[in-house]
Symmetry: D2
Subunit: 340 residues, 4 copies
């Protein structure tokens, strides 16, 4: 293993470009080798803005290069598992954007390939690397709030994505709430008994017309009786709403809005702060860097994945249960999904 | 009608004594005529500390007195409807502590008696008279936050009441969460479609042994798709947790902890405030005065009840639905309860 | 001594009416005997609204009544010392609104009369009885913030009083900042070395025309090196600004705005609270009750005054020093004032 | 001019190393050409960690290189003006760490050299590039708070620097409070009438032994009557205290502590946040990048300096006035300093 991890970024869209930039300039002990995209000009432009000349259009080509030690999979979701399997066969370590896939059997096949190849896979749920969420986890792990009894998470986006995107997104539970499901697992573990979901169309009727919801609430019930509520909305006029509160036998811990500055203006209208960070690229800028750093460190130092494939699988399970609950109007035991 | 409303307080326990003191000293245009309790010495001691000599042991006696224009019913819950019916027949205006009753048919009979007698009935959900909750309602009524889409309420008590009390309390949903159900109705109206409840025993196994829960979560779903989550716990180490957030199409409004003072201490341990008001008598002191003032004003000025019998009935409906949901493990349409 | 302290309120203006109401209804073990005002109709109206019939126009008459045990002096400031001397001779305990007087020799004569008569005198600086300020003092007394090194106080009024009032008020330092000087003494003691004052006219030129300032800053320097800054303004668009921060060797304590409710509204305009309590009658309502309760308790229980004449004298000393500093443009050693 | 500004960093101590890293990796359109330090090994190690091989020991050598377009002066303060004059003669643009110098005549000679050479000089007061301070400025510039009437700034360091450093630092007013003086000028302009300073030794007697103070308060009075107070301390147990509040005719704006995360832990001990960012490298990380970006942009785009030499001179003037005020015990008119 070289002193720096040589990484190829696959996919040069919004999220891929960001990761490429971080590999090139922000992540210690990392080197951006090449950027690949089906659209060559996208790959080239991304590579150039990262200060490298190497780019390509073929994933297969890049996987055959001995100077590439790891890949960051930032292509469209349905392509993830195939690329994971190929990259694993080629012996490349893998950072894969969420979700691994929306189909559990495909996920399982990919995870088997990873295990067999003995390479390291890290899934991209960046919120785990944000200092506020980490402090929540620490308050639980340290016993500071005692045994968790309940939690509440809210996530709301500044505005809905285009209907075209939503049509193939897998629905609110698998596209958006999946981040909250991951956070629930990160904070409270995997021993979920059942999921109950309610949803409605309050923001845009067009979202209802494609059989999705834009407003949703979920109850996640743990075997030990811990009760979690999650609220999501596709529209939040004041920007990006990302909060969590965990309540336990000795106290509670919560995180509030994250702001670009701390100024407070007082006038006869009231005492006012400007709106929080508007969306995820601003809110989680440092978390995206930290997750890649964790990936690079884990590979170079030979430690375990900070967010393994099994961790990446669980939010999909919860999302599928929520989807089925919404459709059936009843709480869905997790065994229904995992047994499928 | 006299210039001051002459009130008899029925029941001289903790809550009755408080109301008697408020009538005697804090509520404008009110006069405390007498205090009644089955235990005469309790009634006497309460009367004396309010600066009056008149007290008694018989509700019937007091209802026959022409110098009593109104009663404040603070006796044990199972006696409420009988006293309401008798007081209504006697033409006395009625302030009645929550709940009216836990049986809908008894409630309906009592409300009929009230209607027939043409007297005014106000039910005692004091949180509606707290400035913070009123500001939340105002933010909704004024359109400040647009059309409500979702809400979250949390209520947690500093410690569970004695098991003896819990045994006859009606259970967490009808004894404790009933305040949240009232708040939901106050803020979002009565057009509820269904209630889903989950509960567990995390605080004290003895609570489980009497078939109650100490930790609970409810989803209230409105016909228009508004989704509400409620979290309750019988134990909160930092005191009394009373918060609500309503999220709408144009913004959101939330209330936080209420504190006895605003001091913040900074040290190497962190930046710290002392705990909030410990429990309801401290937290809602002014709201209890304001609700009686509203009652007195409504009677003397001939306006409508600020919290009518039908308003007092609805939280019981929601509580019964939640109880049935917990027992059946499925969401319960409200029609199941109201049709019963 | 009776079980209840029988009090006559002298002066039925804004502040006297408030104290009368508190004595009559809010202060335990107190009884309002009579209300006196040069304008009889004011006294009568105040008495009536407190539920008593007794009122009068003559202070001398009231001081000769054996059923009056204590007086609350709420007349105009220049009359305070004369009434104190007469009331002391008559053996009445005295609650006196601030300031005792603006002339130190008159104050000293009045305090001598009090001492000679052996009656109890409490001066009316109500902020000492507010829970937030008391918590600041507690943080100092308990050693929580270590040895105090510095402090900053800000006081700003919602709008200037009428010019007519200001003309005879004694100026900003003796009329308004005197409350801050009292707070400084309450928190940090009397060992002041010097006072430096700067002032300007930023709010209303008419205030400058009567040789007063409307914007002022003072540095109070203690013998031990503790450094205090005070900022005052006669105009604050968002209402009543009353804050203090004390910084010490182990940490700091500060108090923020006090609000009528805790609601926060979020919208695309920002995250906003409504303005704080508008002015002193709202902000310090409970503190005004608490200070009279302390007076009644001290008299009935035979304990020391909670705010003795010497405590009431010190803020005047600081105010005179500040006034002289403003006029001379240099820091004024306290010995210059006390030696005068 | 090239598309990227080719910069040499002079001085590879703590602050120089940070700037070198930023030029190399964080600042757009910038290129780190070389690092210079009297101690060659320091320069080499800094260069290497920035990914370049070029380093040196001689400022003169670097100023003669045609491939260097700009220098960042991070050497010890007494060397600043000489290097500015040499760099200006050599036609290099200059970013210079604060202070330019502590001697006004040396500053003036250096600024003349800059003006004559027509190169751009930016002085390094990084707080001007922090979003919170910029929002304060914006609230003033936009008229949001009306005409400023008063301000209060507090700056406290987590712990005093070594006595050896303090001995040659110029004293608290010129070493530490100089940042607050710059902020006052940034927010309220240069029209200062006088400065009054009080100081004491509360933290460490050793600081008193070298004739410095560790606790200080200053009043800055503007010609238009605006009154500013500043508090500084060398010791703050909860970390780095950096706050400002500006109060005006239409409202006020203030900034609070900046925190690494937003988590709040509630327990029976209270409601608590962890301490703020500990010191300047954490607190102002992004501001340090932004100031260099502003420098690079100004040079490449031909715009004015974001923080010119005259801006860099004014805080020194205020610091010298404060020092003289402390020594003389009286307010010092600014004309005394500038006329010297």
């Amino acid at each position: 293993m070289s002193q720096r991890l040589r990484i190829a970024v696959l996919g040069a869209g919004r999220i891929g470009s960001m990761h490429a930039e971080h590999v090139a300039r922000r992540v210690a002990r990392a080197e951006l080798v090449t950027v690949v995209d089906l659209k060559g000009e996208l790959a080239q432009s991304c590579a150039r803005s990262c200060g490298i000349d190497d780019y390509g259009e073929s994933v297969a080509d890049v996987l055959s290069r001995p100077d590439v030690e790891a890949v960051a999979i930032c292509t469209s979701s349905p392509t993830h598992t195939d690329i994971i399997e190929q990259a694993a066969s080629a012996g490349k370590h893998i950072f894969c954007e969420k979700p691994i896939d929306l189909d559990l059997s495909r996920i399982d096949r990919a995870l088997e390939a990873v295990e067999k190849a003995g390479i390291l896979l890290q899934v991209g749920f960046q919120k785990r690397f944000d200092p506020s969420y980490r402090r929540v986890r620490q308050a639980i792990d340290s016993g500071e709030i005692g045994e968790p009894h309940a939690a509440h998470l809210s996530s709301r986006d500044p505005a809905p994505p285009p209907i075209e995107f939503l049509r193939s997104s897998g629905g609110l539970f698998l596209d958006m709430m999946i981040h909250d499901f991951d956070m629930v697992c990160y904070l409270l573990g995997h021993e979920v008994a059942s999921v109950y979901a309610a949803g409605s169309v309050r923001v845009d009727p067009a979202i209802g017309e494609i059989n999705d919801v834009d407003t949703a609430t979920v109850v996640v019930q743990y075997h030990n009786g811990t009760l979690v509520t999650i609220q999501n909305s596709r529209l939040c006029t004041f920007g990006y709403d990302q909060r969590v509160e965990v309540f336990g036998s000795r106290g509670s811990v919560r995180i509030g809005h994250a702001y670009p500055h701390t100024a407070v203006v007082s006038s006869k209208q009231g005492i006012q702060r400007d709106v929080p960070f508007h969306f995820f690229l601003d809110r989680y800028k440092d978390a995206y860097i930290a997750e890649l750093q964790a990936f690079v460190d884990a590979v170079l130092d030979g430690s375990d994945s900070a967010l393994s494939g099994m961790e990446g699988r669980m939010p999909v399970v919860l999302g599928l249960a929520a989807q089925r609950s919404l459709e059936s109007g009843r709480p869905v035991p997790l065994t229904e999904i995992t047994a499928a």
